[in-house]
């Protein structure tokens, strides 16, 4: 087998969810692509990994020292939404409903995976709050065991700012979810946090 082909199949199959068979299919597709398109694809991978940095204020991925969100003067800097990952930030941004700032932890506390609080960028959040501008912190961390641990740890850190409002995103049944397939914990929370419907 061609070394060039073998290399590309080997490299692509290192990606999650891509086995050797899929990698071969992708390689055959790449072969049919224009040469310049493949060059720009390869370069985009390298550029992304070697040039991207983390925003000094919120730990978001950024091409510059301060990310687009933090640099945007029209955003409300009195509200900070705490998320685990950049992908969570992107999901929230996609709604176009949130106009505050973010603080990306970069993970959750996980003794199993050896992630300690000091591995997370909680320092950036605390620095930001210490500067006095922040009025509300929205905690948008997933409701896993590690997520709950992280939330508990955060609450402890935030205790020393008594005037700070701390909220978490609502837990409940998602749009389109069928009750039949939703787990007990979510249903319990959804029942506990029920809202009254106004009778008009």
């Amino acid at each position: 087998m061609s070394k060039l082909l073998d290399n590309v199949v080997g490299e692509l199959s290192r990606l999650p969810g891509i086995g050797r068979r899929t990698a071969l299919r992708l390689a055959m597709h790449i072969l049919r692509m224009d040469e310049e398109d493949v060059v720009s694809m390869g370069e985009s991978l390298i550029d992304f990994r070697t040039k991207i940095c983390r925003c000094a204020k919120c730990n978001n991925l950024s091409d510059t020292e301060i990310c687009d969100v933090c640099a945007d003067a029209s955003r409300d800097r009195s509200t900070v939404c705490v998320v685990e990952q950049v992908s969570d930030l992107l999901s929230i941004e996609k709604t176009h409903q949130y106009r505050g700032a973010y603080s990306v932890l970069g993970g959750v506390i996980s003794p199993m995976q050896g992630i300690a609080p000091s591995d997370l960028r909680i320092d950036l959040l605390l620095d930001r709050i210490a500067m006095g501008e922040v009025k509300e912190v929205i905690i948008a961390i997933s409701a896993s065991v590690e997520g709950e641990t992280t939330m508990f740890y955060l609450m402890n850190c935030l205790k020393r700012f008594p005037h700070l409002k701390i909220t978490t995103i609502a837990r409940g049944i998602g749009f389109g979810d069928e009750l039949e397939y939703v787990d007990e914990l979510t249903i319990t929370q959804a029942l506990m946090n029920r809202r009254e419907i106004s009778k008009q």
Copy 2:
């Protein structure tokens, strides 16, 4: 959103079966990979597309003018297996059972997709046969409408070599296939081509 991230997500989502969501997941994985591994992945894509060539004898993918299979003196050059694509050749090679040569057409005749016989490398097969070494041609083309058309066209081309043995790979029920889910045409062929079991 970061331009570098946006670029890599855009480029990856051009690949078949990879949407923007998967591309984002891959990008996040790439971010966690070692920088040198990402560089070698990007370069392997570019090298593959820009440096790979087609074997001058069989149209297989090759790093050199003549591919490994054609260059291997231990292989039986009197038998040539005709396949559509390089991936078919690789599937046959994986069995380690075939020791002959190949001829990769590079597709099948398809008026719908504008692929004419002249777009296929039938010329390489005919050249090889004309040189006198070939005794058997095994046609291993898929049994689609286009495949059958291509096979018919090939048979016509091969008419002028009366001493050539022409065979096709057996059609039948695959190992592990359940009869219940196999199409009628395959079952019909499997019945017609039934083999007698020796009573010992």
